[in-house]
Symmetry: C7
Subunit: 248 residues, 7 copies
């Protein structure tokens, strides 16, 4: 029977080591992220920018707003998600809960690092215990604590790392290469937004539809997470297009 | 022995990742939906329309009413189901319970989104923990909150997305293609019902028996879920037939 | 070793999806029913009739009464069972308990639908959780609520559907075909009983032993489940034979 | 390695369905009974007779009394066991406990049917839940309730059926065939005992050692379970031999 | 890889039925006993004798006393063990606990049968539930209740049987054959001890080292378990040798 | 299907023995460490030095500080980690908790040995119980108790050993060989730091970027864990380069 | 893929019987001990001597003290360990806890036998229940109770045996053969120590480094466990060398 073999090997596993010291289930979960939509984050002195591709195919029948990949966690923290959407929602919900608990217990906002570590701990737990599979998702968590912007990424293995810029998903490497070349921590926030738009222009086919792009900022000045409206995004896209047209 | 091989591969699994980052059990559950009867939803300014094919073969011995694929969840919310019937009933019961709990706890109706997300969370849970299989079912959940209509779909992976129009089941793509072409958010509710009838006409063989068709509306005006009677459906079908006969 | 292969494939499974979206364990359980003895139900305005073949081989050493396939659930509800006998008994016991609980909790009899749904929910549960197998049994549950007769079938997947007539077990299709042709909802109760006897005559070899036939009615008039005595059954069989002899 | 294959297939199973709707573990347990020693039961108007072969090989070093296959459950109920001895003992203990509980809770003796059903329920439970195997044993449970004798058999699948006569174990079919021919419900109790002895004579090699035969009666008159002494058994055996010698 | 196949088949099992109705894990556990050292028991009117081979190879570095295979359970009960030593110790401990509990609860000594049955029940439990393996051990439990000696054997399947004489372990059959020929229930206790010594002489190579022999008696007169000293054993061995030398 | 075989063998295991007495899952976890970045520890009379390679590839977009491999556990204890980063973080968190608990419970700092043993116990536990995998990480735990410096290593099997010098990760053996030759317990702390820098110079390609190097000391004098700043590290690297240039 | 087959067979097992009545996981654990470092124990009238090889390869960077294989359990009891180090530590900790509990509960020191049996019971438990693997370790437990020295060994199967002399690990047989020839229970304690040193000289290559040798005594006189210092060991080694040089 033709369909028996594919199910035979991995449909019954728990996460254990292979002889070469790898955790296959974790690597397969990483693969799930690598096939997800591209998301990116950028940290400059004035704040953090998050950007994400909202969906793969445009259908005017889908409500754009429900495809969101960038979520507010607390007043001062937001996160972009790449990978399995439903897994991401579970972690986002958990992140919001952790933020709330911190406010209740200590009467102060959770730090971006504490939140990222907590999410990483949950992801690690799902790689070491039987009866569950790892989360097939990465999060880019950005925020501002006491005037300091920070940007963390958590991955399916539970690793938590801080970045100036980072990208996840299918075109992550192209974006990272672009940032390696162009990034400057002294960019103003508007410039950082436009750098994100430019980075994204490298990985999508023109014309640059703004509908599929989702963006958010957490400025140091306000320490408030803010989603950019389609109009604001369009303005930045236009500015980028104008600045680029002479070059090309 | 001829029957040994088919059972060998997947009858003993928990949901884990394949090397290419996919969750096979979830994909197989999606396949269960793809083989189910077609259901669709449509949102216009005046409200939400749900329609579903009730059964595959007509037998005059079956009580039509017990074959229902569209269920009232709360006063203002209904849902159409596609896939495994018994799995759907479990989620519908859960949805009704969630709606009731919301009224008890907060003394107000649950929002359509909160309800859809709660169902999606249950579906996600069944994809990540051992000892259970995913739900082989999608739900189209429509309703009206504070005068705003909305329509969500949840799937076996736990994804929740908002739509203007959406279809599920074996003829979903044909219906979606039809909607892409014809849908207009400014349709009046009656026009939306007829568009649904037309969409369905694309996927069933003529003559268009109305017995196998089930329809419901949640008008913004009343914010009350209402099943259409066979007579009402017949009236709309007749209207569609009349309007189409000149064309063909 | 000749006996190793048959055990290799399915003796160690939990219920999960196959690549084509099917639940094999559920389908195998359906097969267990398909190999069971034939049972049927019939609903007319005056009430519900249940009939079942009691056993496969006649032995005068077996107590007929203990082979029963039709059970009283509550005053106003009865059920016929097809498939694994012991599994059926477990569900019948559960049904009686649910009926009793309803009377205790709400001080009123359970409705036929509520009871059927409750049994279907139990059957569904055994298809989605590990460590158990599905029930290898279908139930035809008939009864009268507030003067309205109804007839439901539950199956190993947990589906609950209402019927005017339905048959289960090895000769189900022959009986259903017969009913499709002959059934009329305005039959009087006695006529319905005889239609059942005729239907059964299609699937057993003559002469029509009445010993192997078990019958029960729930008349709307009394709303009381009543097993027919062997004498009553014999009378109906004789009537059928007389009416048929001219034809053949 | 010669011993690997036999263990490969079924040493790791839970009880699930095969594609043809069978429960292999249950069927294998039935096989365990089919290889057990023969036991039989007989019900006449004056009471119930139970008889069992005590052991396979005669050794004068074994205490006959400890090989028993017929057990008193309550004053008015006894049971013969066929199959795995230790499994049988577990069910016999459970039966005694159920009988005791009934007396404590309702202040009256348990009925033979209620007891048989309770044992059947336990046996069914072990066919549907993981982590256990079915009981490899059948019980013939005989007794007298309110002057009415009854005889039930429970099997590894959990089926409970009432019989006039029944036999279990390796020579069951021979005994049943004999009973089909000779049984008469109006036999006096002594005649029933002798019919049992005759039945047994068909399945053991002559001379008919009485040491390996175990018998008990529950007469309607006393409603008391009573083991026959070796002397009593010998007397019946002698009577049978005398009556048969002319014939052969 | 040479060692892979042997481990493939049975290293991952729970105890279930094979198609021919056998419980392999139980049979393998029986094999563990069959490879163990020989132990025997003998019951005469004056009491019970237990004897066991203490070890396979003689090393003067091992403390003989710690190799014991015969254990006191209560004042009036002792047991010999054959099979896996550590498994035996667990059951012996359990037996002692059961004896103590009986004294506490009922203020009287446990009967030999009640104790043997309790141990058999524990052994049966380990053959029917998953996640454990059967006990690889047999016990010969001897004792005196109210002046009556008795001797029971429990085995890995949980069977409990009473014997006049019984032997377990690798040379069990030779000993049993010897007993079949020589045993007489009217032997005096000293004669029974010597019969045991003679039986053992049939299964070990001469000269008959008394160091490897362990013996105990529970005389009816005292109803006290008593281990024989090496001197006492030597005396009996000498007596046997003397009595046998003329014959051979 | 090409990807089935790799998953077939080890994706479903618990940690058990192989025929040659090895625990494969533990050995595979050791392999995970062997592929990790190199870390080392050094103990001299004046204190303990820990050093670790922070990352594999330099990207200016990563925040160096978040890549840390050396962690403070308590005032007087620190640890370097090699292997799976997320696993290490879980153990580091546990170590910090143990240190805190010790202060709360006994009102005194935990000793370095007690802490190392506690971590080793957790690691052992994950090698002996089902449903979990071993930790893929080694820790080098250094600290000062009552003026005495000590350095322990824990590994995936749970072994805890004390060292004068030790190295872990991909270049561990080269570093150990270097220490075998050059180590002297009477080195002053500064000399020990420079010996670490030299050791590292053996395993990385020149030029010796200080950015990827992380160092910490726990001097006996202060008994305080202290991370070296990049400036301090650079100073030591420069000193080493100067001292080495004449030689090469 | 080359590494798949080795993992296929035993990486997923629980401890069950093989057809020849063996417990493979236990035998594999025994193999783990057989590959461990050699340890030995010796009991004479004046007390008990324990000796163990501390490590396989000499590295001056390892702290000798942390490699210990001989542990104090209570004032009067010590134990040598052979096999998996981390497993041994778990049992040693458990032994210390048992000793402490005994003092608290009964206000007296635990006997050597009670302690050894308790450890054996733990080891047996890990051979009979699923979800765990056996302990890959043997313990030689020596001590003095009321002036009586004793020496017990526990093994992975849970067997507990008393010895005059015993050895474990890779060179166990050579040491045992040596003891068989030379051991005398009337040796004075110093002579016993030297006999241990001589025994060890048979299994290691000259020159006899004393660094790798670890020794302890529990003299009857003091009933106190005492580790020998390197100086004391060296003195005994020198004495042995002197006494042997003439011979060879």
């Amino acid at each position: 029977m033709a369909f028996a073999p594919p199910g035979a090997g991995y449909d019954r596993a728990i996460t254990v080591f292979s002889p070469d010291g790898k955790l296959y289930q974790v690597q397969y979960a990483q693969e799930a992220v690598r096939r997800g939509l591209t998301a990116l984050g950028l940290k400059v002195e004035e704040g953090v920018v998050l950007a994400a591709e909202k969906k793969l195919v445009a259908s005017r029948l889908v409500e754009e707003t429900s495809m969101e990949k960038i979520f507010q966690i607390d007043d001062h923290i937001g996160a972009a998600v790449s990978g399995l959407i439903a897994d991401g929602r579970v972690l986002i919900d958990q992140a919001r809960l952790e933020a709330q608990i911190n406010r209740l217990r200590y009467d102060e906002p959770i730090t971006v690092y504490a939140l990222a570590k907590r999410i990483g701990d949950i992801q690690q737990l799902y790689t070491q215990h039987g009866g569950v599979r790892p989360f097939g998702v990465r999060l880019l968590i950005g925020g501002v604590d006491d005037g300091v912007p920070s940007l963390y990424e958590t991955d399916p293995s539970g690793v938590v790392a801080a970045y100036k810029c980072q990208a996840m998903g299918r075109e992550a490497q192209t974006v990272i290469n672009f940032f390696e070349e162009k990034y400057n921590p002294n960019l103003r926030l508007d410039e950082a937004i436009r750098l994100s738009v430019e980075a994204r222009a490298r990985v999508v086919e023109p014309p640059l539809s703004t509908e599929k792009l989702e963006m958010a900022v957490i400025p140091v000045e306000t320490a408030r997470f803010k989603k950019l409206s389609q109009a604001e995004i369009a303005k930045h896209v236009k500015a980028v297009e104008k600045s680029q047209s002479p070059k090309e």
